[in-house]
């Protein structure tokens, strides 16, 4: 066989240097009596079984290094003449780099986790990838690495929890990440003293710092494509073994209203959908409060026909409007919570009993007005238009503040509440980034990190 000189530069050392900061990089030296070989691969994207069967076992079975070299050269998907760029691409795509003697082989032994991956449950999209992060960290890393094949994607591993010893992976794109955020995150993780850590949302609670919080400051997601998208925007992802969800930080208010299928749709449609979501938030926050304000304080604000309509539908209702609103909203919250806990087989019962019978009977009995029922349904439905659960829950709680303000001083209270919460949101920082800003998207898009959003 003609001695092939490998291109200068491509060597396991060189690759290792390029892939520094990869906690899942495996570097092995194989030593037999006369020969030795070197093996380098990324654990999360290569198939460990194939490596031991096709690469390691033959090394010990073959007589000489030359025979082993010939064997590797003949392996399907093996490359010998590659330049640095190709070599990196191959490595990131799931190859092992083997040095036997003076020769370098790069053999494709990719791992694609398919069997163990479940489908998304909490963040479904209409047309798009449906893989969800699982509870196994290596599977998750495989899912991410396959979608983000860059040597800049660094991975650091730590362990959190004195008892649970939860393996934690910190992922970030070195060239795009804000290093101050990264340093702050590491510092907070280092000072974290807890016994048991079992869920991603829990970690969010510990690292965000503030005692009283209404709004989430990290995204908890189960979608690998969301993780990848955010990594490309320069954010940091933290993944836990056994958690099933990743958290992404820093997250600003706007991020919670981006669904992953916004980019699938045509631009106009995408904008429209986003607008719908914001409208949904406005409705779910304001409708009950405005109902109280309009019926109890300022009926003259709305058109006289509407005022009469509301008054007509409330003719039989024996208590003030805010009692009506609170009763119906609480009913709705009970239904939401109950249908979450119920076994799947009985689930529909709750909706039937709650939605149909209760709604109908309550109005027929004159306990609540018809309009109130419509309003509660609007509030409930529009609340769940928010793509990320954490935010949707925050908004769910927030609307009661607005109702309380409306009970206290009517329309004035609602507007005061709006100003107060805007000021509060603006004062928040997520790892040093302003949480709430007009034109937040524009400023994020014009920066150098904008390549994730296209």
């Amino acid at each position: 066989m003609v001695e092939q000189r490998h291109k200068p530069g491509v060597s396991p050392e060189w690759i290792q240097e390029q892939l520094s900061g990869f906690a899942d990089l495996e570097h092995r030296k194989l030593q037999a009596s006369s020969d030795e070989a070197e093996l380098l691969y990324i654990k999360s994207v290569t198939d460990g079984q194939s490596i031991s069967q096709a690469v390691i076992a033959p090394f010990y079975e073959m007589d000489s290094g030359e025979a082993y070299g010939a064997y590797l050269g003949g392996l399907p998907g093996s490359h010998t003449e590659v330049d640095g760029k190709q070599a990196l691409e191959l490595m990131l795509g799931g190859s092992a780099c083997i040095r036997s003697g003076s020769r370098i082989f790069i053999c494709e032994l990719p791992k694609a986790e398919a069997g163990a991956v479940r489908e998304t449950v909490t963040e479904s999209v209409s047309q798009g990838p449906s893989d969800a992060l699982g509870e196994d960290l290596t599977v998750n890393l495989n899912l991410i690495r396959r979608r983000y094949q860059s040597a800049q994607l660094k991975l650091e591993m730590t362990v959190i929890g004195n008892i649970s010893r939860t393996k934690t992976a910190i992922l970030y794109d070195e060239s795009r990440v804000d290093h101050r955020v990264l340093a702050e995150l590491k510092e907070r993780l280092d000072t974290l003293q807890i016994d048991v850590l079992q869920a991603a949302g829990e970690l969010d609670k510990y690292i965000s710092g503030d005692k009283v919080r209404i709004f989430p400051k990290t995204i908890v997601t189960e979608r690998p494509d969301r993780v990848v998208f955010n990594l490309a925007e320069g954010k940091v992802a933290v993944m836990l073994d056994t958690a099933g969800y990743a958290i992404i930080l820093p997250a600003i208010f706007n991020d919670f209203f981006t669904a992953m299928d916004d980019k699938i749709h045509l631009p106009v449609v995408g904008r429209f959908l986003k607008l719908l979501r914001i409208l949904g938030v406005v409705l779910t926050l304001w409708l009950p409060a405005l109902y109280v304000a309009f019926t109890s304080y300022n009926p003259e604000i709305v058109r006289v026909q509407i005022a009469l309509l509301i008054a007509g539908s409330r003719a039989t209702v024996p208590y003030p409007s805010f009692v009506e609103v609170l009763i119906m909203l609480l009913m709705m919250e009970f239904l939401t919570e109950a249908s979450l806990r119920l076994p799947r087989a009985i689930g529909p019962t709750a909706t039937t009993v709650g939605g149909l019978i209760l709604g109908q009977a309550a109005t027929a009995a004159g306990l609540v007005g018809n309009i109130m029922i419509i309003l509660v349904s609007v509030v409930a439905i529009s609340n769940f238009m928010i793509p990320l659960n954490m935010m949707s829950f925050s908004i769910r709680v927030l609307k009661y503040f607005f109702i309380l303000a409306a009970i206290a001083t009517g329309l004035v209270g609602v507007v005061c509440c709006l100003v107060g919460f805007t000021a509060y949101l603006c004062s928040q920082r997520s790892f040093g980034q302003p949480y709430f800003k007009l034109f937040a998207l524009e400023s994020a898009g014009s920066g150098k990190k904008g390549s994730g959003e296209k």
Partner: protein, 368 residues
């Protein structure tokens, strides 16, 4: 860093808020005695002041007035000066607050107790005043984003209404050649005094780069707002009857009917827009006032947070107490109070500008 546009928002906020602070009243009172001629003069003077003040304070990047004063002026002069300016800002917020409480009681909820309305305003304001300057600018931008479209809509709707009497407006224009009126002039310059908030907000503007174009914009928006705030009520109520209203603009908004919306009276949309804007304006003014007064206290050395909180709380308690006490003023007194403030404010602005020029001269001399 903070961008230039926030500087513009500060000016725009003050400019829009003028209709709550009795500026249209002063203009309308002078409509036969030279208000028309004072407006262009005020635009020139206001833009000039804005230009000068910005130019001076830019020489102290990242510094607020307290820092500049302590660095350059003799020790014993600093506390009284800061005290006076702090009180001026406090009063600026107070007038907006009190007149808005009055507007609320008169137009929106006459049944609600005045104290309840005042307390709910104070609660929001005191909560938000303590937020850092950066975030307040974001809040201001957000609130302008909500209220500005509504205000523009209300104004366009007003001018487009068929019952808008252009003849009255034209008739008022026939008094344009009357020599300018000092009070109307002072009142109109209020529209430009948004820049003065830089006294504290300059701390967050690191590189404020302003081109001549920006000042043209400042002048233009001031001119448009002033002309509108004088002439739209006249178009609605007529040349003579317009003086019978205290809150001229809210009465104007109450005269507009929206034919095709679930809210029929423009007043409520206008009120909501102005309520948000006024609250933000009070917050910004009191924030500046609070920061000025706060610098009177010795800076706590360590474990700063707690002592600082108490100082803040005591200042704000003072502000709130002033608000509650001044609630006793009736409408007429409040109006007089507001007009006096409009005059005093002008001299205060000039004084601050001169002081800063002096400070700049001192630093120049020192550095030579």
């Amino acid at each position: 860093m903070t961008k230039n546009r926030y500087y513009f928002w500060l000016i725009l906020m003050n400019s829009l808020i003028n209709i709550v602070n009795f500026v249209p009243r002063e203009l309308i009172d002078g409509r036969f005695t030279g208000a028309q001629a004072s407006i262009p003069l005020a635009v020139a003077a206001g833009t000039l002041l804005t230009l000068l003040f910005t130019a001076v304070i830019r020489k102290f990047p990242g510094m607020g007035v307290p820092e500049i004063f302590t660095a350059t002026l003799p020790k014993f002069t600093v506390p009284p000066l800061l005290m006076v300016f702090g009180l001026l800002w406090c009063i600026a917020g107070l007038i907006t607050l009190l007149s808005f409480v009055d507007i609320t009681l008169r137009f929106i909820s006459p049944d609600t107790g005045p104290l309840l309305v005042l307390i709910s305003f104070l609660a929001v304001v005191c909560f938000s005043v303590r937020i850092d300057s950066h975030s307040l600018l974001y809040t201001l931008e957000m609130m302008l984003g909500i209220s500005l479209p509504l205000i523009v809509y209300a104004t366009i709707k007003a001018v487009m209404t068929p019952s808008f009497c252009w003849d009255s407006v034209l008739q008022t224009f026939t008094y344009s050649l009357h020599a300018p009126n000092w009070h109307s002039f002072l009142a109109s310059t209020f529209s430009f005094s948004g820049y003065i908030n830089l006294a504290i907000f300059n701390r967050v503007f690191q590189q404020l780069k302003l081109k001549p174009f920006h000042f043209v914009l400042v002048a233009l928006q001031g001119l448009v707002v002033l002309l509108l705030s004088l002439f739209v009520p006249i178009g609605f109520f007529g040349t003579a009857a317009v003086e019978k209203h205290i809150y001229t603009w809210f009465s104007t908004a109450d005269s507009i009917r929206i034919e095709t919306f679930i809210i029929e009276r423009m007043l409520f949309i206008f009120y909501m827009a102005y309520l948000t804007l006024s609250l933000v304006s009070i917050i910004i003014h009191w924030h500046v006032g609070k920061e000025l007064l706060l610098s009177l206290f010795p800076a706590p050395k360590r474990k700063a947070a707690k002592a600082r909180k108490w100082q803040e709380a005591s200042i704000l308690a003072g502000f709130c107490a002033a608000a509650v006490i001044l609630m006793r003023l009736d409408q007429y007194e409040l109006n007089t109070f507001g007009v006096i403030f409009l005059d005093v404010r002008w001299y205060g602005e000039i004084a601050l500008l001169l002081l800063l020029l002096y400070c700049y001269a001192v630093t120049r001399r020192r550095s030579l």
